[in-house]
């Protein structure tokens, strides 16, 4: 099953309660403006709740589960779309019901929106909606771009929001016939509960692996590479995977115990893990001075940036920007260890020569890999990367699989050039950590 089919299946399941709602409509449900508004309002409630629950299910972050979906970042994209759709529908839900009541009187519309306090079923719906507005406001940058930790803390309100929305749905239960109502929402609720339980209970106990920071190497003035030795057994992963790292060094100025996603820069054949971290925020700045011997936990691996990381079977074009070089570095290290040829053309986009992260090692790896071509693109001299530039250093770009990892503007530009050159969407793989 392709990743696209897996995502379509997720949407189909999320839309299933709405389809059942439409299938069980009575003839009178659309007979007047008032009843039509009421019906559409109830449908919005059913569809919104199902999408909210499906978004909760996708947030489980169980290692390995993301692979059939093309990696965790792609799964999160669907989670993000489901969350957006859910909020829009659940905002429309009470309004449409109020408009429907408005065909009787303005008073009825108002009391539909604001019933007496004793109407706990309605108020649980209101509470769920207010919580959704609170925890989704940073996800959609309502009030500016949020800090990662603040966003994560607010996002935990999703749990109570889902519970209150379910109480509201079960209590009023006017969306579907009662037996169907109980069956459908019970199944959704149980799977969502399982996902949330994994996320907040089991993932901390089973999913997280303890390790020691055995080496701290400064790669540049604002980039550090940590070597992590797992405390128990080997940590299986592939080139291009990323993990959630939580450092437990009491000397850290910020980010103690906070988990952040980082790409592994080591080859999976190495005994220890390596992670390159660029100073991009409070936690990543503090971790630049983590002491050797400190305890940390890792959770993962996640992601499927390279569908077949251990061999370059078809010609590939790799474009990296800044710290986005890490998945490519991991794969080059792996391919060198395997002694495999690599018909790949890497364009490493950096501001200037001083910012060529791992420049020396990259040149050495490139020369040892048969068929590999390495190019450095310097922004200060050449400006934003152009299609002409890519075609100059990689004339057969249209026939190559594209992997791009870097800042969003670079990724968007490269994908635009690739599409213009005729590379099909199915041959484009991108990794981005801008999850909001």
């Amino acid at each position: 099953m392709s990743a696209g089919t897996a995502h379509r299946l997720v949407w189909l399941v999320a839309l299933l309660p709405s389809l059942l709602f439409l299938a069980t409509l009575a003839p009178g449900d659309l007979s007047s403006m008032g009843s039509a508004l009421n019906t559409i309002g109830r449908l919005a409630g059913v569809a919104g709740l199902a999408m909210l629950l499906m978004a909760a299910i996708l947030s489980a972050r169980i290692p390995g589960v993301d692979r059939p979906f093309g990696g965790l970042t792609r799964l999160w994209r669907t989670h993000h779309f489901l969350g957006a759709g859910s909020l829009i529908l659940l905002l429309a839900h009470p309004l449409l019901l109020a408009f429907s009541a408005g065909t009787t009187s303005l008073y009825a519309a108002r009391t539909m929106l604001f019933p007496p306090l004793s109407d706990l079923a309605s108020w649980s719906g209101w509470a769920a909606l207010i919580l959704m507005m609170l925890f989704l406001a940073p996800s959609f940058s309502f009030f500016g771009h949020p800090r990662f930790e603040r966003w994560k803390k607010l996002h935990r309100l999703a749990g109570p929001a889902v519970a209150l929305a379910l109480i509201h749905g079960f209590w009023l239960s006017r969306g579907l016939p009662q037996w169907l109502n109980i069956t459908v929402w019970s199944v959704f609720a149980m799977v969502a509960l399982g996902a949330v339980t994994w996320r907040f209970v089991f993932s901390r106990r089973i999913g997280r692996r303890g390790c020691r920071v055995s080496k701290v190497e400064r790669v540049a003035n604002n980039v550090v590479e940590l070597t992590l030795s797992p405390e128990h057994g080997k940590f299986a992963h592939e080139a291009g995977n990323f993990v959630y790292l939580a450092p437990y060094d009491p000397g850290l100025e910020a980010g103690y115990g906070e988990e952040h996603p980082y790409t592994l820069s080591s080859s999976p054949l190495e005994p220890a893990l390596r992670i390159a971290i660029k100073d991009l925020g409070d936690a990543s700045r503090a971790i630049q001075s983590i002491r050797e011997g400190a305890h940390a936990t890792i959770e993962g691996p996640y992601g499927r940036f390279f569908p077949n990381p251990r061999a370059v079977t078809d010609p590939e074009l790799w474009v990296a920007g800044g710290i986005g070089i890490t998945p490519f570095l991991a794969r080059m290290r792996l391919l060198k260890q395997l002694g495999k040829p690599a018909d790949a053309c890497l364009i490493f986009c950096v501001q200037d020569e001083a910012r060529e992260l791992y420049g020396q090692e990259l040149r050495s790896l490139a020369s040892s890999l048969s068929g590999f071509r390495l190019n450095f693109h310097h922004f200060y001299r050449e400006g934003p990367i152009t299609r002409e530039y890519i075609e100059k250093v990689c004339p057969d770009m249209a026939q190559r699989l594209l992997h791009v990892c870097g800042p969003r503007p670079l990724k968007d530009l490269v994908v635009q050039h690739a599409r213009a050159a005729g590379i099909p969407v199915s041959s484009i793989h991108s990794e981005e950590f801008e999850l909001l």
Partner: protein
């Protein structure tokens, strides 16, 4: 594709609509703490009078000592009209309290009935 704009637009539109409904209701002079004026009716009807309005085109019901004219509401009711029809022209308190599998109607439904109140049920036969 950025979702910020459509989601933020929906967020702003939601609160604009909510405030508009509250404002219009306040300006229209209806005190939300009280039922609308038509709810106060001094008329009384006997069960026999109620019984004459026993069709979907003319549907009265007596519920907990009050008489309601649900004729205009039939098509807005979530279930099919055939479910309501047997209760037209009769004492329907049981119907209100035992929808579906014996569950009471919601408080919202009980409140919404006030819009259709036409009088009290006379104790005389």
């Amino acid at each position: 594709m950025s979702l910020k704009k459509p989601v933020y637009t929906a967020f702003v539109a939601f609160w604009a609509c909510v405030f508009t409904i509250v404002l219009l209701d306040s300006l229209s002079g209806t005190d939300s703490g009280h039922p609308p004026p038509q709810a106060h009716s001094p008329d009384t009807y006997t069960l026999a009078e109620v019984a004459r309005h026993d069709t979907l085109d003319d549907c009265w019901m007596a519920i907990e000592g009050k008489v309601y004219d649900f004729t205009d509401y039939i098509e807005r009711h979530p279930t099919e009209p055939s479910v309501l029809e047997p209760w037209c022209g009769s004492e329907a308190t049981e119907g209100m309290k035992t929808k579906g599998y014996g569950r009471n109607h919601s408080q919202r439904a009980w409140r919404a009935m006030e819009d259709y109140l036409i009088g009290e049920l006379s104790e005389e036969e």
